[in-house]
């Protein structure tokens, strides 16, 4: 199973909040040369107020980090949040 598939599976069982419409997982190398993964969490268009709720966003980022860690992957997860209308 690829790293992306492993992370996708881990996140699907991480019980993310309903205001997250979907997510994408993209392997990357961070600026210090470390193995990392960018996890873009797309927020439902009718729930974009949450993008100003840093506590809610940080809570999800912590859950994402734990899920990646528990999957045994030695990658630093960078969680980002974007509205559905601005998602690529």
């Amino acid at each position: 199973m690829s790293v992306v598939a492993q992370i996708e599976a881990a996140l699907k069982s991480a019980k993310l909040p309903k205001w997250i419409d979907r997510f994408t997982v993209e392997p990357m190398t961070d600026h210090s040369g470390g193995r990392a993964v960018r996890i873009t969490l797309v927020v439902r268009e009718d729930q974009t107020d949450v993008l100003q709720d840093g506590a809610a966003l940080n809570d999800v980022a912590r859950r994402v980090h734990s899920a990646v860690d528990e999957a045994g992957l030695d990658l630093w997860p960078y969680s980002e949040f974007v509205s559905a209308s601005e998602a690529a």
Binding site: D30, H31, S32, A36, V43, T48, L51, Q52, D53, G54, A55, L57, N58, A61, R62, H65, S66, D69, E70, W76, Y78, S79, E80, F81, V82, S83, S85, E86
Partner: protein, 165 residues
Amino acid sequence: MALHDDLLDQADLLAHHDPVKPKQASLRRATSAAYYALFHLLIDASTRFMVTSQREELRKQLTRSYDHGHMEKAARAFAAPAANNPWRALLAQPPSAALVDVASTFIMLQEQRHEADYDLSRPFTRSATKASIARARTAFASWNSIAGTEEGDIFVVALLIRART
């Protein structure tokens, strides 16, 4: 207001600067300002812990000793759920959610700051920029909730000093 508070407010202003179609320059500078806000908040806290006298000039000199790369590595020691390192060994219990928030947000913002300044292949969006600023603002509040605690003291020392094993 302190520099770090002004920088955070500046990040907000830049993120909302162009009402209809945000300019990449505004969003990228907003992201950079949010990073530097947290960077300077933590340096301010760290130097105030280390220089307890009223020697402000000495404290200001110390602020120049902090290194972005070292601070990021130190933050990882507290942000990773299962990190094993000398700093973590000093904690009586795992880092609080507040400390994890501060450390994780610092790492995230530093990466975004590099992308904002050097990687023009990735367009920045207003919603993602606002989310990053909101996380920075929450990291400020989280820091205020743990400043002066044992874990907070260990963290601010780790931001400057390399751990010896």
